[in-house]
Symmetry: C2
Subunit: 243 residues, 2 copies
Amino acid sequence: MTINRNSKIPYYQQLYEILRSEIEQGGWQPGDLLPPESELISTYQLSRNTVREVMDMLVNEGFIYRERGRGTFVAQPKMEQALVRIINFTQDMQQRGLSPSSRILESSLLTAPADIAEALQVPESAELGLLKRLRLGNQKPMSVEEAYFIHARCPGFLERHDYTRTSLREALEQDYGLRWLRAKQIIRAITAPKDIAPLLQVTSHAPLLMIERVTYAEDDRPAEFLRAYYRGDRYSLYNELNG
Amino acid sequence: MTINRNSKIPYYQQLYEILRSEIEQGGWQPGDLLPPESELISTYQLSRNTVREVMDMLVNEGFIYRERGRGTFVAQPKMEQALVRIINFTQDMQQRGLSPSSRILESSLLTAPADIAEALQVPESAELGLLKRLRLGNQKPMSVEEAYFIHARCPGFLERHDYTRTSLREALEQDYGLRWLRAKQIIRAITAPKDIAPLLQVTSHAPLLMIERVTYAEDDRPAEFLRAYYRGDRYSLYNELNG
DNA sequence: TAGTGGTCTAGACCACAAA
DNA sequence: TTGTGGTCTAGACCACTAA
């Protein structure tokens, strides 16, 4: 991998993709020492500022950390990822040390309910795809997840894959070129709705964490609405704050 | 305000403090156009890289945003602050457009319970200060907040102020020089404990958001343990994620 | 066209860790 | 002492916005 000098993509973004995929694909493991800045400079023929700009991004996102005089290291994946980056259930469970699995509860087309239509910025007559799954960690019910998609943007996606195994995100990116750029989410505490409680094997008084998320694609238009119900006794969120 | 060339504090940190306090103290209002980089460069006699480094920090933290060709502007305070920065109840309520108030439920000294001792990294015999407050938004119960402090680090703080009005954080900073640098928190959904439910005027089945937070001072040692119970029907958390 | 922010370079000196 | 990251400078050219 080298820097493409003719591309319109800035060098720092290219280098970012290179280093991040090296980390995410496992070329470098947590705790590993990264090449020093001087080596990255000569390898990729970039100035120190440009290299450091990329490292700053990776540090801010928690992928790497620096120790003055010693070097730069790959960081341990953090639990807080769930509140910083768009990650899927599989990644989330793995970070928590649980073995993920899924069961499909429903896979259908429907016309958009009012609240979801608004979140997705489509008319209420719009056709949506719905994928409803039970998510398990170590074989025990962890959450119920309802994912709504604008059908016009990804026709036929429901039939294409076995979503017990395939990540929706991967499928959408591969088949339709839909890349998720950012998302907004709301986190609430609720008591288990009547239809959700038995799926999670809890009583209808049980407390749940409900997360509603709107994901935006690269064109900054909403692409997905996700509503997830997590068992309060099995799932919590962790994050770090700055002064 | 100018840059102190003899200080050991890096220029970029000095400029950061200057600009951030200008924004936070209200010298610049949301939507205001900031001076262009060229002006900051000549005003503070710094290079463009140093000025931009500071602006990058403020952009990352959501204080300002840039528009190419137009300028740099002060951002609207975001709701998501509650999941990014350490803010107090008063700021949180104001961001939500609610009028904050408080009632003190308990103010006492105690020996550290096991779980809190561990979080604060003190022995179980350590003496802690406890400040327990009912927090209201628009006069309605919003949360119950229990703040535990290591008494040895701030002796007598309970008697010094009227914590119905004074922020604990301000008091600790002014009286003991304790500045909060960062915090870690866990967010859970629970049903209202028997002793909390009546305070929040909910039944004991009601769902609550429980947030437990350990705050670290500048020396990176734990300074405070906070446990807050929020009414699930009145309080939710919002944040944004990146791809 | 003038002014803004976006990207990039090629240096410099410093503080800290490890050998 | 050597090599690392931390801070800082003084330039350059580009893309976009508004006049």
